[in-house]
Symmetry: C2
Subunit: 184 residues, 2 copies
């Protein structure tokens, strides 16, 4: 992967964050990168391939980041939550895969497969650390939805309001199952 191909993926990812699959064009990306649109086509023959490549790279990167932090013994929920929190509070403000996922009912097949892979990866990281399928699904859903709601409200703190109690409950759940119930 050369410089231009990476720059194209960067630009596509940036634009996907706000508009999803229909939210960017070859010409816009070409302008972002500083080349002609035909050069974008040279590296990614179709829009579908480009979007799929962006999602795949995003999934791989997040997966690696999660693994690194999990290796340090961190709680799996904290890792996932703080990772998404970083996104929300950064200049990006939104996870591009969540945008694609929300509009996934008419996503090109190849892109849909990659989006599925992303969410399955997130669930696997949670269940792989002992959470039940329901717990994992609930945590992922809450974090995902918190991003959507806070973006829609234009209120970054909405993300924290939706997730702070979840942390508390999760921690107390750990405590009650590892050191017996404290009651209340």
């Amino acid at each position: 992967m050369n410089d231009v191909a990476n720059a194209v993926m960067d630009a596509a990812e940036r634009r996907m964050r706000s508009g999803g699959f229909n939210g960017f064009s070859f010409r816009e990306i070409a302008e972002d990168v500083g080349v002609k649109s035909s050069s974008v086509h040279y590296h990614f023959p179709t829009k579908e391939k480009l979007a799929a490549a962006v999602v795949r790279r995003y999934t791989d990167r997040l997966g690696e980041a999660i693994d690194e932090e999990l290796a340090l013994g961190a709680d799996p929920y904290d890792v996932l939550s703080s990772s998404f929190r970083k996104t929300v509070h950064s200049a990006n403000r939104m996870c591009p895969i969540t945008v694609l996922g929300a509009g996934s009912l008419d996503l090109p097949e190849e892109v849909g497969v990659e989006v599925q892979r992303f969410f399955k990866m997130c669930l696997d990281k949670l269940t792989g650390r002992g959470l039940s399928e329901n717990e994992a699904a609930e945590l992922l859903a809450t974090i995902t939805g918190a991003m959507v709601v806070s973006a829609a409200l234009g209120d970054l703190e909405a993300f924290d309001r939706a997730t702070t109690d979840l942390v508390r409950n999760h921690v107390s759940h750990q405590a009650s199952s590892s050191a017996a119930s404290l009651g209340g």
Copy 2:
């Protein structure tokens, strides 16, 4: 509001569920309804106005439906949850406002305002029945995210996995605060 105007909003809402704001065109909607695209422009001069009108109608309808069920004394979480669950398990499979919300970073202003109104309405229904701001935010986020994740995975049951424990916890929370803790 005459027949055509309503049919246009129906078609727009249907297409928004899968593609968001960029996921439909005047020509597609005109074809759905059986008129020419200029007739769609007659009722809704711009795409922004059409989308805003659809969101406003959707918000009003859901708000009324929630009020009716709340008047019967139902638990506010159950009402919101089962309402969205109905959407997910219907042929529609997705809430159009959630799709717009996820891609809200580049939504036309008028549409963004209506999307905000939708989510604020949901939060108000919950806090108006005694839930704290954090509880309301968490419940709304979980339901919203559950829709996104289940749509992305193409797995309707993912919605239930993400929300069933939430019901249990919420119910036991009610129980413990109204009839003393049972422990565990």
